[in-house]
Symmetry: C2
Subunit: 429 residues, 2 copies
């Protein structure tokens, strides 16, 4: 992608309302734009990050045999009256009246709707388990939306739902999702910690959240000494339950005698096993050879549009964002410092094509801007590798390669480029 | 994908409210489910079709240098008051009041928001042209939602927007989108006809719609004798304007002396060149060496979630849907008629893996249902190729291949399968 054809409206300053580093960097790097309080557009650079996260979530869910669907954003109040949450959900629910005076709402979550879907079609125990997911906008009318997309009113969520024949099978499904989530975050290079949580308004008796430890986080988690050394995805169901790793609420509720270490953190995913709470209120009966039963359900959410902000909060420096290859909008930023020099122009154009041919995600800064602006933009948007072409090419047949994270510059003779690239390729793709 | 792991809740009967063939077939084949009036969920089979359409639209837009973004569904009334459409849009606009009594709305389209975005960031003529697209839910509160996803209230739309320095450049961009749309529909195997249209509530003076000719269509288009023979994507801008191919409205407004032939049709896309209508009301000024100017804009929409319905309306028979490979949820339906026979089971399992390894999208009917149900489900959901394994395998080492469209059965000896598949592969992928 050529910078000149790709809209990255970087900004020098942001409004004084912007209090959180990730919010500031997302606005400055032209990733997002606030449209109104708590409601954001994702601009091209931000959308690329979001898309990489979505693609990974889809891939791992598909591999896990979870069926992708798409439920609508607007729901009828009818189904929320069945579960009794229409009244109890409170003011965060965006209530809407249509032209025929029918009560609608913008879905804050989809337990009710998926239960209505299951109830219509799932008739026999033979077709269970069933697992569904969708990636859809949600709306929660926060009283004080803040921190950009971290606590937005309209946000993108991946929510999955499961139906099982009994509690034991539902626990297996829950554990499968626990591992599936760890796999997603591992492949995204986001080091989350699973923590036990109370199940709150969704109901039920088993729940975990996935947190990213960050100084500036709004949440607090409590962790036993050896927890951070564990390989979470290798834990058995029993070990998952025994893990000394808790949300603030859970830790305080349960009066642990042992004192655990606390960390500030950001919640980015949440799973629930709530059993028959919704299948009961929906009178959702399934036939089996032992008579009718209510299926056991769980729900599993990932705060998709919160992840870029959470990760930036975790990984930045004074110059900007530091992306890993897994979610970087681009892997390589090719910077031509001498756009009016034919030799440099020609070299860059060829290298750009060569990099693309090798499968790299490249942004090619072909603008006629000053070097200072190109460097600061590259650091700000956080591309993992910068390749710089300028005077060294003309003098010594050399180009510079800077790794964004380490900020270490390496000069390479142009004869070594192919070698260097194929080494890099092995690491990056 | 194994049928047993993939949720396809086919139904025998539909409600008597269902009047249109595509609506009936989408409900019967388990593609969609109505959640409330004019609001649908896309179930796994339907979502696969939608996803293939989305992927193609994204690919062609990306290749065309159009930057993908994601604007929110919920908008502030403020920007709609600037364009004066907050009052004029009428009752189809879903108006919402949030907990702080702020007036919001569910976006029926995004001209206002993209103009606000452009106005903030686009300061110099040097950065023009700019082209953006997003694929996002829209809501139009139709008084009488009907025909399933064909005329839903919540629907998925791809909308693109362009900014140019003057009318001449805007016309070039408009013509580029005209060709880009034809390319999308060509690759999707949907034979659309571009027709000139009045520009209506969006404003401006140039507009085309893309229609699919279908007996049951709600629209009517008027076409000159030689139009259907044209290669639309090869037309110059002047030829585009001269083409005798019009919407009903346009034809009647312009009092043609020549009588054109009329066809019933379904509109699936619409492009507008509206010039400075929104940049003027937003006081959106851009600098140039000749002073300030208002950018020339266009917008370009595709009714993404309407396409599956429109195509089904165009391509079905008494047994169900007839998909082309381009948008079929699966390309091959592998049907095992003898699931309790080890030889057949073993053969099918191996063939299934072989087909996947060759890159085919396969649905493997591994259910223990009667042959009649498997055949009628396969015809209903419309998979282009059915591969049937049963008694012929045991007796003569033969399998059957049925092409859904032609309904022609071909017997093939199992030694010829590899050959047959590699031939098919060349045609399908």
């Amino acid at each position: 992608m050529k910078f000149s054809n790709f809209f990255i409206p970087t900004l020098k300053d942001v409004s004084s309302d912007v209090k959180m580093k990730s919010h500031e960097l997302m606005i400055k790097s032209g990733m997002i734009r606030q449209e109104t309080s708590g409601i954001y557009s994702w601009l091209p650079l931000g959308y690329r990050v979001l898309k990489k996260i979505i693609n990974k979530i889809e891939k791992i869910h598909d591999e896990g045999g979870v069926n992708q669907i798409l439920m609508p954003t607007i729901q009828s109040s009818d189904i929320w009256k069945i579960s009794d949450r229409y009244e109890t959900y409170g003011k965060e629910m965006l209530r809407i009246t249509d032209r025929n005076k029918k009560e609608l709402l913008y879905g804050p979550t989809n337990e009710e709707m998926i239960t209505a879907i299951g109830r219509q079609y799932i008739k026999s125990y033979k077709t269970l388990p069933r697992k569904f997911y969708h990636i859809q906008s949600k709306f929660r009318d926060e009283i004080r939306p803040r921190f950009g997309v971290m606590r937005a009113r309209e946000f993108l969520m991946k929510d999955a739902y499961s139906f099982d024949i009994d509690e034991k099978n539902a626990e297996i499904t829950y554990h499968d999702f626990y591992k599936l989530y760890l796999k997603i975050f591992e492949e995204l290079n986001i080091p989350v910690i699973p923590v036990r949580a109370p199940s709150g308004e969704i109901g039920g008796n088993l729940s975990h959240e996935f947190h990213l430890i960050v100084e500036s986080g709004e949440s607090e988690i409590f962790i036993g000494e050896d927890v951070l050394k564990k390989k979470f995805n290798e834990l058995s169901y029993k070990e998952v339950l025994d893990l000394k790793s808790f949300t603030d609420d859970y830790y305080k509720q349960t009066n642990f005698t042992e004192k655990l270490k606390s960390y500030k953190s950001i919640e980015i995913a949440h799973i629930f096993l709530f059993g028959t709470k919704y299948s009961s209120s929906f009178k959702f009966d399934v036939d089996s050879d032992k008579g009718k039963f209510k299926p056991f359900m769980g729900s599993y959410g990932i705060g998709v549009s919160r992840i870029p902000a959470a990760f930036i909060e975790y990984s930045n420096d004074k110059n900007g964002i530091i992306w890993p290859h897994s979610i970087a909008p681009f892997s390589i930023q090719l910077i031509n410092l001498l756009t009016d020099d034919n030799q440099c122009l020609d070299f860059c154009d060829k290298l750009y094509i060569e990099l693309i041919r090798n499968g790299f995600d490249v942004i090619y800064d072909d603008r006629t801007e000053r070097p200072g602006i190109k460097f600061s933009d590259a650091d700000l948007i956080g591309t993992p590798i910068q390749i710089i072409i300028g005077n060294s090419l003309k003098k010594n047949n050399e180009i510079s390669i800077i790794k964004r994270k380490e900020k270490v510059e390496q000069k390479i003779n142009i004869n070594e480029i192919n070698n260097y690239l194929s080494n890099m390729l092995r690491k990056v793709i």
